[in-house]
Amino acid sequence: MTLPEQTSVVPAVEMQDIVLQFPGVLANDHVNFTLLPGEIHALLGENGAGKSTLMNVLIGLYKPQSGSIRINGEKVTFNSPKEAIARGIGMVHQHFMLVENQTVTENILIGLDEPRFRLNLKKYDHEVSQLAEQYGIHIDPTSKIWQLSVGEQQRVEILKILYRGANILIMDEPTAVLAPQEADELIATLKGMAAQGKSIAFISHKLHEVKQVADKLSILRHGKMTAERVDVRDMTRESLASLMVGREVIFNLHKCQQEAGREVLRLEKVSAVNNKNLPALREVSLDLHQGEILGIAGVAGNGQSELVEVITGLRACTGSIWLDGKDLANKPPSFSISQGLAHIPEDRIGVGSAPNLSLTSNIIMKRYDQEPISKKWQLDYVAADDLTHRLKGEYDIQAPDIKTQARKLSGGNLQKLILARELSSTPRLLVAMQPTRGLDVGAIEGVQQLLLRQREQGCAILLVSEDLDELLSLSDRIAVMYEGEIVDTLCSEDFDINTIGLMMTGSWKEEDAEAPEAPLRAGETASSFDETLRSLDEFEQRKASENAPEAVPEAQPIAPEETGAVETAQPAAPRDETLAEPDFIPGESEKERVLRKVLGKKYDRQGGQE
């Protein structure tokens, strides 16, 4: 395919025939990529398809084996990112590179030749806020990075690039770390920047978001372009998905009807505190049966992580957790593992794997102490390698060989590795936390089918997810968590996305007349929280008639907004990204907006799909 449109415009970026070979993988196979001025060009593909690699070539991090790059019509060879920056190319990585204890301005100035010795911070604060204003970015240049939410930190990264005079911006999966509401804001910002002539390459694997943001899109699969510069409007979600994964993707999973068996897991009045010593779980009780998937719905930070940690033995608690008659509460993880509990952790790299060790070492993590891998004091590496070979094939883990370090795997393959380890032991109970987050459609489908297969085989599954669609299509029952409590548990015939949404945002209680006050509210935090909730409700009612922003600051410990950045449209909006911190939940006051945020994707999709 060549360029469909005949233009006289000089492309901002023109990459031709880029070839880059990694060990065992041809990451980019004669790839072309063109970006016009003022254009947002989305680059789609599965994990490991070569999107990030291609962009790393563009910013000079990798040197291609062959191929050419032209910037504004001029042929260039980059030896380092520095040279790419000099050409006006900047990249916002998925993981931010910011100094926590320094201010926004200081972070933006890091590494620049100007200022030289004496730093007149005020002058630069002013410059930064002007730049931010120009592109409609809301940020206070004097606030320190640790005070900012993830979304705001991302804005700092964007400003960093703009300050260096970039005209070509590369965004590497920018929305992966954002809440839907923040993602919307980002997309608006990007569109604004494009309108002012910046060229933006937007890496993503979220189909709906690409349709929202991009003008053109290209799709990579296994290092090759399967679609080049096609018009976003011409594509449907299904056609995009099949171009990405190379086959039809079934968006409706087949879930067989089956009766749940005997009870496997029972939690009785389990309470626990979070890392900050604040109550995170409040007398949670639930039960889970053989061949059943119990979904846990909730906005991040409402106790789901703690619930999982308590069951898997990683966090202390009060109350009891019965797994087939044995109490798991406050037992070490080794005990629950020996009782047939499998755990797919939320943090694949930080918890689920040993990044510098081989596939084999990662596969045997939970069974190095069992036959045949364990031989008295010895570890039988031959048996371990055999097992790894078998599982690598069975679960289709894409890696050059079993000695490959886990950190060299793509996200989807790493998750397959973890699933292979956890599921191959035929667990009685599987606790899966966000098993599909950050994966592409193809991998998501694979993971979900694996979960359903476990269900058919009689495994009891506790599925914690922030993706309501996933919960609705997989779960037999859904328990909704809010502020460390289970608000209610619904059976599949009662699933109603609006009800669940209301429960997730804590709005259900007021409407549900019979809901009593929670019996044991641990100390001040809880009661002061209730107060805030009440005051916010009043605030909400008042706001209907007049706009009164004075009630907001009280709920927000850090309020750097007064200076610099001018908040225009929504007075309380930019704070709720911090939902991950329980302290910030009062920020959710505007019920409607939060609902849209929680159900955002669903709302967007409902029109086209059903």
Binding site: P23, T77, L314, P333, S361, I364
Partner: protein, 367 residues
Amino acid sequence: MRIPYPVFTKRTTENPKWLPVVTSVGAVLLAFLISGIILKLIGANPIKVYSYFLKASFGSWGAFSDVLVKATPLLLIGLGCALAFQMRLWNIGAEGQFFIGAFMATMVVTVPLVNLETTPKALILTLMAVLGMIGGALYAFIPGFLKAKLNINEIITTLMLNYIAVLWNNYWIFGKWSDAGFQMTRTFPKQAWLPRLADYAAKVPAFSGMTAHIGILFGLIAALIIYLIIYKSKWGYKITLIGDNVRAARYAGINIAANTILVFMVSGALAGLAGMTEVAGTVHRLQERISTSYGFSGVIVAWLAKLNPFAVIAVSILFGALLVASREIQPSGISFLIQGITLFLVISSDVLLKYEITWVRPKEEHA
């Protein structure tokens, strides 16, 4: 003038197996080259110095025996450090564990714990070795426990405990155990000497005067055991897993606290054994300067060997040779100079394993 400059690109290909070996050996050779330049600058003839070095340490069996004497404590301590470092536990306290090991072994003789006349020699020496190891292990238990239970930084605690151990020894050799007011204990009776090659001179005349003692054998056996632990055993797998990702290890059901304490104690036991071999094999008394900072050199040995137990053997012999040669060369600091440069270069050479370096001429970039 256009000077080519290096550009570092992350390696995209798997490293060939020989590369780490080549870079390490290359770094050692480069260290000798740089040291040679420095020697030249201060007016010495580097070739002469190095050949004298070689002669002094490997020139004869007698010289090599001296090298082995120096290598023995380095080997044992280096192995202990290698094990701890494998778990990313920074035990910088080998010096202190060495001294406490030496102290405990000395107790057998000076207290005395057994009747030195009637008890068989083998029993006395076994007791000394066991007590030395227990001493080192218990002394390492302190930082291990503090790390495991209270998460106190082990670098600080082990470093500080070194001084306490030295002063504790001083208390005894200055006071109660002092030999006629000298800052040392009296010489141990022969019953408490580790067998040396010279002891067999009657049978093998070539051994006469050779001071190498059985301690080096302890070291070689320990190297084999540590190798089996790290690369073959389940425990070694756990240690490696904890070292790479503590959170993953915890998630996999491994008891981090217990392993932290255990690894610390094994590491300390090896340093304690080194202390015992030094007093029973080399000095034959407890004195202030039994260690020429073996504890710290052991850290360097472990690093240079990239934590591989068999490489620790080679590196400790190299360092032993440098120590022996330093007796013969004035100023004696030359060996430490070479040691320092070697460590610096070997650690820096790691960069070659992670990056590909290409030289770029400035004019190219504006083409």
